[in-house]
């Protein structure tokens, strides 16, 4: 199973399912449900960004929400000033990436350990939250966009087709755009992880010292993956601002950061599909909790996090994979006598093929 998870077959399977959903869902769902699915896809992109830097880069970032919020605010402010949404869309990716690069420089070049990393990213998130939260009042504005403090920014102009300011995306278009972004991010990260750069990133997670001794500057690779993670989170933030045409400081908040980490832990650290599964499951659960008053959502999320860390530390997807693997082996073992009987018949088939292989080899 482990080998399957790393193979291209699994990537192809995920992509096939993704593409089927991309074209299938708008056919079967009404617009309201489609909008719901869009937010799941937005959050999945955010989840994947952390899945990459944490699961593959070994960087535990408690502040992925900071980049998410930054992307969302950048888009909102830029689009309100510019009108056309093409440049703001790009800015919403570039600005969080630059911010991540700056922060990453302080952390990785200061050679701070994981734990400090977690605390610093948490702190930065809180700074941003406090800062943005305090910008209520008309004197806080960038260009023609009021920041709005704790009230957030309402009525953000949504995305339009590049260059045509009047051609605004419909909810269905936004679904296509968001879902395509998710698939592209997934595919891009799979390719990156399989490439040489990706291998060094994973190696630096496994043993930074050894990577350094082999002549790779691990800090550069970590900085790169952290920056990329920031860019992807920024993209998610931009799409989020488009989804509700609204953004507020709560997306910088601790609860948001906690959620992202919970998605990754629940779905499975070290996979890219796992966090998407975790994200959809937890989001669905949260919305179910929201509809009834018996349990507080913090209570349930906290309990889930504790239980998973203690009892299912590997997450749903790898654990399910193991279970399927075990079931598969048992199933293979059960008809073993039959296989033995068949074996002599199959055996003579083998040598000629091996012979043919050796003959053609020279």
């Amino acid at each position: 199973m482990n080998r399957f998870a790393k193979s291209w077959a699994s990537a192809a399977l995920s992509l096939a399912v993704g593409i089927a959903l991309l074209f299938g869902l708008p056919g079967v769902m009404d617009d309201y449900t489609l909008i719901e699915v869009t937010i799941y896809a937005v959050m999945s992109i955010l989840g994947v960004s952390l899945a990459f830097i944490w699961g593959f880069g070994g960087i535990l970032c408690f502040g992925q929400a900071a980049f998410f919020g930054l992307g969302s605010y950048t888009y909102a402010i830029a689009v309100m000033n510019m009108g056309d949404s093409t440049v703001p869309f790009l800015l919403a990716i570039v600005v969080p990436a630059l911010f991540a690069a700056l922060l990453g420089y302080v952390i990785f070049y200061g050679r701070l350990s994981d734990v400090y990393m977690g605390v610093i990213t948490l702190t930065v998130t809180l700074i941003l939250f406090n800062l943005v939260n305090s910008t209520a009042g008309p004197e806080w504005r960038i260009g023609s966009a009021p920041l709005g403090g704790f009230n957030g920014i309402p009525a953000i102009p949504t995305l339009n087709w590049p260059g045509q300011q009047d051609e605004v995306l419909t909810p269905k278009d936004l679904f296509y755009v968001t879902f395509t972004c998710l698939l592209l991010v997934y595919l891009g990260l799979r390719v990156l992880i399989a490439s040489k750069i990706g291998r060094v990133i994973v190696a630096a997670r496994e043993n930074e010292q050894r990577v350094l001794l082999l002549g790779y500057d691990a800090r550069v690779y970590k900085l790169f993956s952290f920056t990329l993670g920031g860019a992807i989170a920024g993209l998610a933030g931009c799409l989020f601002a488009n989804w509700g045409a609204f953004t507020s400081p709560t997306i910088f908040g601790l609860a948001q950061s906690a959620q992202i980490i919970i998605w990754v832990i629940v779905g499975g650290l070290g996979t890219l599909v796992g966090p998407i599964v975790g994200c959809v499951a937890i989001q669905w659960l949260s919305s179910q909790i929201g509809t009834q008053q018996a349990f507080n959502s913090n209570l349930v999320l906290g309990a889930i996090l504790v239980v998973f860390v203690l009892l299912v530390p590997r997450g749903i997807v790898p654990t399910l994979g193991d279970l399927i693997d075990m079931a598969w082996r048992r199933w293979r073992k059960a008809p073993a006598p039959a296989a033995k009987v068949a074996a002599p018949a199959a055996a003579p088939m083998e040598p000629p093929r091996a012979l043919a292989a050796t003959e053609t080899a020279p």
Binding site: Y116, V119, L122, V124, A258, F295, N298, G302, A303, L305
Partner: protein
């Protein structure tokens, strides 16, 4: 002159409140290397313990100095048994689990007490310095911080308990061979740390509104202080509190409270870039 005095008191107060807020965390992180992200929620529980005690008609001072630490210390013992104990040595997992605990505690308190702000009025009134008035409770906070620092030093260096605790943290297997049960020491240390957090929450209850989510306001400051302090528990705590508290209060004085907090956190991040081991990683090496 009056202004200078008032500013001095405010700076001392900022430093003192950082010491109080971070002491519990410093004990748990410094001694056990456990990152307790539920620290803010321990404080929150302390504050609620004070409110509950006041409702039962208990004197405010007893509520703050006795009820809050004992209640939260007991919660600490239970949580250590149930969760933290299984995760010693796995720093990242501890961090995640304690974060889960923090959400869980916020959720439980919200369900029980409701998402409303409860308040305790600050006792002792205020006295005037020239044209300014200073709250008497400010002086209590400063006094408690000094007492707390002295007490931690006394316990760690002069008592059998402190000796055992320090020995166990340095070499658990050797302590075990000498007939001391490390798990009991860990349990007690965690409980003491939790009790200190509870005391901090109780002390700050009259100054801040008591809401289930109040912990988040302190946890970042407390962490940055402890980590900025570095490996020496007490010297680090005092050094970092002094530095960050002064920066915070002076920036607040010049601009706004929010920018004061931002200045504190930015200063901390810049300092960690220059001194990754914290203040005591470079200066006062080998002190407590």
């Amino acid at each position: 002159m009056d202004l200078a005095f008032v500013v001095l008191i405010q700076v001392l107060y900022a430093v003192a409140s950082l010491v109080i807020v971070s002491a519990g965390l410093a004990v748990i992180f410094g001694m056990m290397k456990v990152i307790n992200l539920a620290h803010g929620e321990f404080m929150m529980l302390g504050a609620y313990a004070v409110i509950a005690a006041l409702k039962l008609g208990i004197n405010l001072w007893i509520a703050i100095f006795v009820v809050a630490p004992i209640a939260v210390g007991m919660v600490g013992v239970v949580l250590e048994r149930l969760v933290i104990r299984r995760l010693y040595g796995r720093m990242v997992d501890t961090m995640l689990a304690t974060w889960g605990l923090s959400l869980l505690l916020v959720g439980i308190v919200t369900s029980v007490a409701g998402n409303t702000t409860a308040g305790v009025s600050a006792p002792l009134g205020s006295f005037s310095v020239g044209a300014y008035s200073v709250s008497g409770y400010t002086l209590v906070i400063i006094a408690v911080a000094v007492a707390l620092a002295l007490a931690i030093r006394f316990v760690l260096t002069r008592t059998q308990l402190g000796l055992i605790a320090r020995g166990t943290m340095q070499k658990p297997d050797m302590a075990n061979a000498l007939g001391i049960s490390p798990s009991r020491v860990y349990s007690v240390t965690f409980a003491v740390g939790a009790a200190l957090s509870g005391l901090a929450g109780g002390l700050l209850a009259p100054l801040t509104g008591v809401v289930p989510t109040m912990g988040a306001a302190f946890v970042a400051k407390a962490f940055i202080t402890v980590i900025g302090g570095g490996p020496a528990i007490l010297a680090g705590l005092l050094g970092a509190s002094g530095l960050f508290g002064a920066i915070n209060q002076l920036a607040t004085f010049v601009t706004t409270p929010v920018l004061g907090e931002v200045a504190l956190l930015v200063a901390a991040i810049v300092m960690l870039r220059l001194l990754p081991q914290g203040i005591t990683g470079r200066f006062f090496k080998g002190s407590l």
